[in-house]
Symmetry: C2
Subunit: 445 residues, 2 copies
């Protein structure tokens, strides 16, 4: 059923999707019609299986094919499908390019990519060129060329390329989005966000191993901390802010500066847990422990993005959304709204979330929150599935994907040049001026 | 008694002060000896009178002379001295340059400057040239030349120029300083700080007036928001961080980028409270509502500084101090230390403050916390007084003062050039490599 959504159809359906929250009848909620989206997954490691888990909770999905070079991971994923009472999906495991055999199947509408970062690009491109919806896990781009290629291929094929960013689907985030759209914060001025996650026990596993001797993500992810210095993982932070700031839809990112601290955390970890005699004690990790990126937007807003993955710390996305009328801050879980909050005093966030509860989350909580990452994995895969079924663009589109990915390449460039400001490409080719928001407009995805 | 502290003496006394916490006998605490420091104040507005109030709580001070062009403010200050049972200080009120007659008195050891920002420079210079210790209220520099001039005059005259920054003397800050020096955070990596203070009712007073029709600080302070765009008030944020990061003492600020959001808050305030017909509704305020500055240090640390004074918000200095072993964050009043905190969980800050209570604060709490800004005004003026009495350099010296002031001029420059990185001058002329910390080393100031 892979829909021939061409550029013209995109614009048409985008316009329809932009009308508002009530264009879809409630009886299609949570897959209660009989159409199905036929989904495949390339990469059935931890993250791929998390998405699979959420897909299996949706009755309007068929899992047709799965691909992984690791036969054990593949078998485990196939078994999950069978355990869910469904037909065993065909497996592709014949070396690193077997995914090319999978993407051409004619019983697939969309394919999710959850492989190591260095494979995302060619796989996303292959998926779109095969006429399927592409849904790609989070990362950052190695170069701007990659981002441009995604845009070009998506425009040429008419196939969406959705960054599978679960943070945009978090309850709090979707409520803050409605607050912003309702004008609660006034005119938008500033935001802060980031990925502050102690990944040392992900980057080193088992013990202080990574690369060939590593396990799970340490096999491939850690090498990016050896050779690269920049905000390697910007999308959890920036995704929600981009949505709230209408990026590519009346606004855009214009310039970026990035500054990295020294790199100490990873080496210290190896020395502490592996000792100075361990071979990895000689590795020089290039990634600064804290990378600070500052973006200026066309409409005059500023955004700070932090990347902080090498040091001991509690998890935080450091989010703050600030306008002429007040601000929300994640780190103290509080909000301040002029004329409503007591003068100069923070208020707890929860009553505001309940007041501005997004329809998607109202439905979700009524029908039962499920899936990984607090339900956000369910909602993001659901959005991908529903977009396929309705033959409409994904609510995170290729321009969002390219823009968020580009932060990494621009951050590396700015840092390499001593924090020089670098210009953000306009991936929309000027259409950001007239494009309208498409995320979080409906009540069911 | 104005001491002839020349460059050579400075170095000698700095070395002595650097020995540690126990070189001064406890019987000089809180002015229990009979030596006195003879102090004058230029500018007896709100801030000047706050410092005067703290000086009058110290029995080892004499207030010899006061100066203000506003005879009423001057009389009020003189009356405070008399009410405290002391001799009425001589007043200087004969026009804006009468301070020049005051600084040459031979019964003054040190002079505090608490005038509008545009007067600080010439007054500080005059004070030092007259052979007195200069203590100057917080602001930011208009140009790097100013900063260099302070350094040059201080070196030539041997007179200190102390930024009267009270935040360095806050209880929490002094405890965090000890934590850092004790290695609790490990090697320093990153810090955040700022001045996030809704000043709209300071910048506009009464109503939406400022400038000639204004009151108190709105008479002069608001004009800086009209014509300038940068971090106008960096010292509350950066003072404590500079101390914790050993800036100018084994470390230094190397480069800075600065990015300003659009300017909306002040105009919105005028429109809301004065209406579109008010003359000030036509003023275009150039100061971005949120200014984000990022500094890279010679030892590889990064610092974010926020300036956010035009929008509704609760007060915060956004402080965060982060090292290889953990971090403190002001906004949730929490700390996380690897191996001590429960894995991944914040701990309340208070027990750590009590554990690392600075000797100055132990004494202060035992003898009674007093003076404005939670006692910090008392401690900063006390440090000024004690430095004079002991004929030693002030614990915040002219290099600190020049460096902190320079942030404003550099921030304005970077913003004007589209966030270009700008180089930080080394005001120490290379001595930062060998200079040792001088702040917070003793138990009594």
């Amino acid at each position: 059923m892979a829909p021939p959504v061409n550029r013209r159809n995109f614009i048409k359906t985008t316009a329809i999707a932009g009308i508002g929250a009530s264009i879809f009848s409630p009886n299609v909620l949570f897959g209660k019609d009989d159409r199905k989206a036929r989904i495949g997954i390339i990469g059935t490691g931890l993250q791929g299986r998390l998405m699979l888990d959420s897909l299996l909770m949706q009755s309007d999905t068929e899992i047709t094919a799965l691909c992984d070079i690791d036969r054990q991971a593949l078998a485990q994923a196939q078994d999950m499908v069978v355990q869910a009472g469904r037909k065993k999906p065909e497996g592709y495991s014949n070396g690193p390019h077997d995914y090319l055999n999978m993407v051409t199947r004619d019983d697939l509408d969309g394919i999710l990519v959850a492989t190591p970062w260095e494979w995302h690009q060619q796989m996303s491109v292959a998926v779109m060129k095969a006429g399927k919806y592409a849904g790609v896990e989070c990362r950052g781009a190695f170069s701007l060329n990659e981002c441009w290629e995604l845009v070009r291929v998506s425009e040429e094929t008419g196939m969406p390329c959705m960054m599978m960013e679960n943070h945009n689907y978090k309850r709090e985030i979707m409520a803050v989005l409605l607050m912003a759209r309702d004008g609660l914060f006034g005119e938008m001025i500033h935001a802060q966000c980031g990925y502050q996650h102690d990944l040392r026990r992900v980057k080193f596993r088992p013990g202080v191993e990574f690369g060939e001797k590593g396990e799970n993500e340490s096999v491939w992810r850690t090498n990016h901390s050896v050779g690269r210095n920049g905000d390697l993982y910007p999308t959890h932070g920036i995704g929600p802010i981009a949505s709230i700031f209408d990026i590519n839809r009346g606004n855009r990112f214009v310039t970026l500066t990035s500054t990295a601290s020294k790199a100490r955390g990873l080496k210290a970890f190896v020395l502490e847990h592996g000792g100075p005699g361990h071979p990895n004690a000689n590795v020089d990790f290039k990634l600064g422990d804290v990378v600070t990126t500052v973006i200026k937007c066309a409409n005059g807003e500023t955004v700070i993005i932090n990347h902080d993955t090498n040091l001991p710390r509690p998890y935080s996305n450091m989010r703050r959304v600030q306008g002429t009328n007040g601000l929300w801050m994640e780190d103290n879980n509080s909000i301040y709204i002029e004329g409503r909050s007591e003068y100069g005093a923070w208020e707890p966030m929860l009553p505001y979330i309940e007041e501005y509860e997004h329809p998607v989350w109202k439905t979700f909580m009524r029908e039962g929150v499920r899936g990984g990452h607090g339900g956000a994995d369910f909602l993001k895969t659901r959005a991908f599935v529903q977009s396929i079924k309705r033959k409409i663009p994904t609510p995170i589109d290729v321009y969002d994907t390219a823009t968020w990915l580009a932060i990494t390449a621009l951050s590396e460039k700015s840092i390499a040049m001593g924090s020089e400001p670098v210009k953000f490409p306009d991936f929309t080719g000027g259409k950001w001026v007239t494009n309208k928001p498409i995320f979080g407009l409906t009540e069911d995805y």
